[in-house]
């Protein structure tokens, strides 16, 4: 039984790491209706930039600030070059543009910062600590705390500030938002910047776990089912989705996996998400859109 709980806790915490990535998606979807496939590439870019700066002997906090600035510049550039000309195009077009964007960012990141694997030290060791007989990784706990804090801050930003109101207005109907004087360009730049910051946080934590390397951009594929179960436009949903996916994925890998010869973690979350969607087609907390012909 204790083994079961350890697997469960490990899974729940790993799930929150997925939530961190999913959060970046939700932000952009919520504020612009864009399904941003480039989020994984942004995570990779942020982590690579940070590690490269640190390896040049820059102290931790200065490097963090530097990377933050880089991410802001990247976000504004994305808005200016790729998104602004695409205002009011169908969501599918914007999605495909972000696919192209992910290629550009990945290619740029590896050209600028090299393709080798970098180690990343956050000063938090990836060692287990034991509480009430169940042990969990310190890094995982820290990541979980960070994810929780981020969600809280972002939820406040969206629901309690004028900026949040503008973001939601733009997501709901860009044309109407423009008509009442919301500055679309500023809103988009802000939201991409924020998701760049979220990407940086995710990049640092995932980088500390896996090493900073190309495969970081693949965590997008881990985050997708989380995002879908929670609902594309629900900040709180990412946490619930992350917990659900993390726990079931690990439990399935341990208890069902051996029956199939293992390796099921690649597709199991997707089937799970599919199951959830068949019951609730807009995710658990996603906004249900009424359709009219």
């Amino acid at each position: 039984m204790q083994f079961f709980f350890e697997v469960l806790v490990g899974g729940l915490l790993a799930g929150l790491m997925y939530s961190l990535v999913a959060l970046g998606f939700v932000l952009i979807y919520k504020a612009s209706g864009v399904f941003n496939f480039a989020q994984g590439a942004m995570v990779l870019f942020a982590a690579l930039a940070f590690v490269t700066i640190v390896e040049h002997g820059v102290p931790f906090w200065a490097a963090l600030l530097g990377t933050l600035l880089i991410m802001l510049v990247l976000a504004v550039a994305i808005e200016r070059i790729a998104l602004r000309p695409l205002v009011n195009r169908p969501p599918m077009t914007l999605f495909m543009a972000t696919l192209g964007l992910s290629f550009v960012i990945e290619g740029l990141a590896q050209t600028l910062f090299g393709a080798q694997v970098h180690g990343l030290e956050l000063g938090i060791e990836d060692v287990p600590i034991t509480f009430a007989g169940v042990s969990a990784s310190k890094l995982d706990l820290f990541a979980a705390g960070t994810a929780g804090a981020l969600v809280l801050v972002l939820a406040l930003l969206f629901n309690r500030t004028r900026l949040g109101l503008a973001l939601r207005a733009v997501a709901d109907d860009p044309l109407a938002a423009l008509a009442i004087g919301v500055d679309l360009r500023r809103v988009w730049a802000v939201v991409w910047a924020v998701s760049g910051v979220v990407g940086l946080v995710a990049g640092l934590l995932w980088g500390a776990r896996l090493g900073v390397q190309f495969s970081l951009s693949l965590i997008v594929l881990k985050a997708l089912p989380v995002l879908i179960i929670g609902g594309l436009d629900s900040i709180a949903g990412t946490i619930v989705g992350g917990l659900l996916i993390g726990a079931t994925e690990k439990l399935a890998e341990v208890y069902i996996g051996p029956a199939f010869g293992g390796g099921i973690e690649n597709w199991f979350p997707y089937l799970l998400a599919l199951g959830f969607l068949l019951i609730k087609p807009s995710g658990l907390f996603g906004e249900v859109r009424v359709e009219r012909a």
Partner: protein
Amino acid sequence: MTGSSRSLTGGLSQRDSWRSMPRFVPWLALAVVAFVVLPFVGNDYLFSAVLIPFLVLSLAGLGLNILTGYTGQLSLGSAAFMAVGAFATYNFQLRIPALPLLVSVALGGLSASLVGVAFGLPSLRIKGFYLIVSTLAAQFFVEWVLTKFSWFSNDNSSGVITAPRLVVLGQDLSSPAGRYLLTLAIVSVLTLVAFNLLHSQTGRNWMAVRDMDTAARVLGIPIVRAKVQAFAVSSFYCGVAGALWAFAYLGTVEPHGFDLDRSFQVLFIVIIGGLGSLSGAFWGAAFIVLLPILLGNLASTFLSGIIEPGHVENLQKVVFGSLIIFFLIKEPEGIARLVRSIRHRLSIWPLEH
């Protein structure tokens, strides 16, 4: 354009005769070049590295275009359906040796259809971006099944399958030119079928579903049938493309040859070529096949020594992504549209409005 006033000028009568040329003539010319001229003048490099992948990817693009471009269902699982087609064809050939190659390929396509329908069924309830979960599930699940269960690759430990002998009606088509002709014939027939399908009631139903499925339902269009049909036909095309990719192009293939990157490649073909355009699949495929060759050559002539080879690949990625964004911004309807406007410009040149 008003024809009567323009025919006053001399040059235009010629143009009018060009216009009155039966529509099938250019297509006939294209067919003659592709089927008769090219097999004689082409060399092995042209067949193996350019024409065969171009044709196969066009077919896959056509398949995805039916689903995404004409029916509006976004799919990130094209490579999975290609894989099913390839491995099913392989197994039909292996386990029923009496089966002619073309029948096996068709059965492989039908197997892909079945899998496609299975993963397409959620589309009846799930819409928009949520649907990519279903096709991504197909992508990862199929890859896993084909790697994990070695039965599919006749107990090859790494899941590699090798092409059967390519014999059609007693003709050995193993040479590059033969493989080209085999691919060309299959792709031509399937393109014609797709053309007719899209201009039939079925195709119009698909487009109605794409434009707005609630409205289509109100109009009495059977959207369940339309969606299932679209998944079935699209996956069939992808499946046949997969079989050709494995046997006519590569010769040997492993499940990871059909990974997510391949799905993206097919998606890019459709985007760049033109969503909802038959010729778009061909333009897109030509672009995708030729661009890396071109970039590779450019890099090796101009940048050799300046940039290491690893970086060329990254730069290629950047160029690729930028081009996709560029096309989406400047020409959302893809190269197909670009070609159409150029043709229009030429037809009124030099007397523009």
